[in-house]
């Protein structure tokens, strides 16, 4: 049960009014002499100062009327009983009714019309999904325009993957193309499936292959082996050729004539901190030698205290601010390498919604959730019950003289 306007719940205190009226009627007032007292019926004497049995239903009905009015004002929505699910796939569809289904593997699929998304926005939808299903992973496939991210980002414990699907007409979308180490044309493609949008690397031919460019990840041969292992793993994921030689930085990506550098900065008197799990690395890890004076144009990974650890500087070079603890170096650099390569292929912007800073701020106080996903408004039920209660009250009350 959720409420659209929870502030009206204070009207619930109104249930005291019928109780008060009933008790007031029972209260002895200043007695009035009545010479014809003995002609009052016997039964009315017995019922003089106690609540009679037949008054209890009337009292309950009147209390019910007050509660129903309160629930109407508070915009009650039924909440479907559902167990927490592991994965939810939210897909934007062009039109039609909302579809909710849960497959055998426990994946819940929600298909929501573009009209409804425009009305409620992704944040509200994400918030309600979080509230109702408590998922671990959420995949969102749809259009990510600015106007669909109004307000602050809701708090969510789920890992959310945003798949931009600009054109819902085509099943597959090519996000980037390049020539791999074996001189084959490769593409990073988005494929719409029943379980959402799957991003993978495929071989391509024909016209699209002609637009592919060579891309190479150059690793500094003087790097620690654990760093190069992580970066090499990232390249293998995308079938990108890797070279190893002595270069001034940790690594660089060469694509056509452009070069993107990956620079590691370690401050001797730097701060120690740690990073929470994020979409690039997926683990928490300790950082040492963190230079708090570094200025980043865009930050991809930040420490728990908000210091930028990995991001882009003003000259479009990737900066690693500090040193990662030894055990997780390969893992973290695999994630960093992935970000570096996707950025170089210019697919990063396509995969995630572009949002302003205020839109990314987590809204921790929002409790009013409009039913965007499962609109089970209780209004009609409440109106029906209210009408029924009112009719019954009118039938009983005059007969009881109350």
């Amino acid at each position: 049960m959720i409420f659209g306007s929870a502030m009206w719940l204070w009207l619930g205190l109104g249930v005291l009014i019928p109780i008060f009226i009933h008790l007031w009627n029972k209260k002895e007032k200043k007695p009035r002499l009545l010479g014809t007292f003995r002609f009052l019926p016997e039964e009315s004497r017995a019922a003089a100062s106690r609540i009679e049995l037949h008054e209890i239903p009337l009292l309950l009905i009147r209390m019910g009327i007050v509660v129903l009015v309160m629930l109407l004002m508070a915009e009650l929505f039924w909440q479907k009983e559902s167990e927490p699910v592991q994965r939810i796939s939210i897909q934007e569809v062009k039109d039609g009714e909302q579809i909710w289904k849960k497959d055998e593997s426990g994946i819940v699929e929600l298909k929501i019309s573009a009209e409804k998304i425009n009305l409620h926005g992704w944040w509200n939808i994400l918030q309600q999904v979080e509230h109702e299903y408590l998922p671990e992973y959420v995949t969102v496939d749809g259009g990510f325009t600015q106007d669909r991210f109004k307000g602050n980002r809701p708090y969510s414990s789920a890992s959310v993957t945003w798949n931009r699907v600009d054109s819902l007409q085509h099943q597959q979308k090519i996000l980037a193309t390049w020539i791999d180490a074996d001189k084959n044309a490769k593409a990073l493609s988005q494929l719409k499936t029943e379980n959402g949008v799957v991003t993978n690397v495929t071989d391509i031919e024909g016209e699209e292959a002609l637009s592919a460019e060579n891309i190479t990840l150059i690793l500094n041969s003087e790097n620690a082996e654990s760093i190069n292992t992580g970066l090499r793993y990232a390249a293998e994921m995308l079938s990108i050729s890797v070279e190893e030689r002595v270069i001034p930085n940790i690594a660089q990506v060469e694509k056509g004539e452009s070069i993107v550098n990956l620079v590691e900065l370690i401050s001797e008197n730097g701060k120690r901190d740690w990073a929470e799990p994020n979409k690039w690395t997926g683990v928490s890890f300790n950082i040492s030698g963190l230079d708090t004076k570094q200025v980043f144009a865009e930050s991809f990974i930040e420490t728990e205290s908000g210091e930028p650890f990995f991001g882009l500087n003003s000259t479009d070079d990737f900066i690693i601010n500090g040193q990662v603890e030894a055990e997780l170096v390969s893992w973290v650099y695999a994630g960093i390498g992935n970000a570096l390569l996707l950025h170089s292929l210019k697919v990063g912007e396509a995969l995630y919604p572009v949002m302003e800073e205020n839109q990314l701020m987590v809204n921790k106080s929002s409790s009013a959730i409009r039913s965007a996903v499962q609109p089970h408004s209780a209004r009609n039920w409440l109106f029906g019950l209210l009408l029924l209660f009112w009719v019954v009250e009118r039938m009983i009350a005059p007969r009881r003289g109350m």
């Binding site: 007032k29 002499l33 009545l34 010479g35 014809t36 009052l40 019926p41 003289g401």
Partner: protein, 294 residues
């Protein structure tokens, strides 16, 4: 807009009953029977000088012996009726409506009737009765007696109920002359309670007029929806939901009033119901009109 009758307002304000009664009586055409006339009788009225043509039997010879003049001794002719009022001073007479008690209303009724009777030369007697005390004033004529009668009603505490026996009355019965007994009460103590009273009056050949005074609210139970009411005699108290008990109440009440009518009406007894929302003047006007027809 209804203006509250001036008379009830005056009565509530505690005005002297005698004054108000006189004011009301002045509004009536009085003289229901012959009234006072000068002539022979047992009650001395005045002396006057002998005039030629007077009956010599009327000359007071003792006066002649003392004064050596002829005087005719005149007496008031006795009225043929003594009006004996019985006013109920039981607790139920404390019932109030619009700030006016039933006792006060009944007092005015008696004061007016006594004034009329007195002006007609009838002798008037009063008994204030409940089961605990009995105040009475013997039957006499004259203004002073009327004032005493009215004054007697001023200082009374209504308590108890109407006595069950009639022992209090037997000492006061005058069987030598015809009497009209007027009983002013709410008559709510039960029809059977009046049986011995009626039998007593019949045994001595008197006529009884019962005047029953009830409030408008008593007759219609038009109280607020939830009210606490108290029996003035038993002091029992309870809350009632007026609308839910009204039908049954009215059924009980009117059944009793019918029973009362059956029990009280006879060729020599009559019953007249007055409602306290009506002025005494209007009620008595109706009452006297009815008696005139009888």
């Amino acid at each position: 807009m209804n203006r509250e009758p001036e008379e009830l307002e005056l009565l509530r304000s505690g005005i002297n009953l005698g004054l108000l009664a006189k004011h009301i009586v002045d509004g009536f055409m009085i003289g229901r029977h012959r009234g006072t006339r000068r002539g022979t009788g047992s009650e001395f009225s005045q002396y006057r000088s002998y005039q030629p043509g007077d009956d010599l039997r009327q000359v007071d010879w003792k006066m002649f012996a003392r004064s050596d003049r002829y005087y005719i001794k005149e007496s008031e002719t006795e009225s043929s009726v003594t009006v004996r009022f019985f006013l109920d001073i039981s607790a139920s007479m404390l019932y109030e409506e619009n700030g006016l008690s039933r006792y006060r209303y009944a007092s005015l009724v008696i004061a007016v009737l006594a004034t009329i009777a007195s002006q007609q030369g009838d002798s008037v007697a009063l008994h204030l009765v409940n089961n605990k005390e009995h105040k009475s004033l013997d039957g006499k004529r004259g203004k002073h007696h009327l004032n005493r009668l009215i004054h007697l009603m001023d200082d009374v505490t209504c308590t108890g109920h109407w006595p069950e026996s009639t022992e209090w009355l037997t000492d006061n019965i005058n069987t030598s002359s015809r009497e009209l007994w007027v009983v002013c009460s709410d008559l709510l103590d039960g029809a059977k309670r009046w049986e011995t009273f009626i039998q007593l009056s019949k045994s001595v050949g008197h006529e009884i007029q019962f005047i029953q005074i009830l409030g408008h609210d008593e007759l219609h139970l038009e109280l607020e929806n939830v009210a606490t009411v108290q029996d003035p005699e038993t002091r029992a108290m309870m809350n009632i939901k007026t609308s839910s008990v009204r039908d049954k109440y009215l059924q009980n009440l009117y059944a009793y009033l019918e029973e009362l009518k059956d029990g009280l009406l006879s060729p020599r007894t009559d019953l007249f119901l007055m409602q306290m929302n009506e002025t005494v003047q209007n009620s008595l006007y109706e009452f006297l009109k009815l008696r005139e027809r009888l």
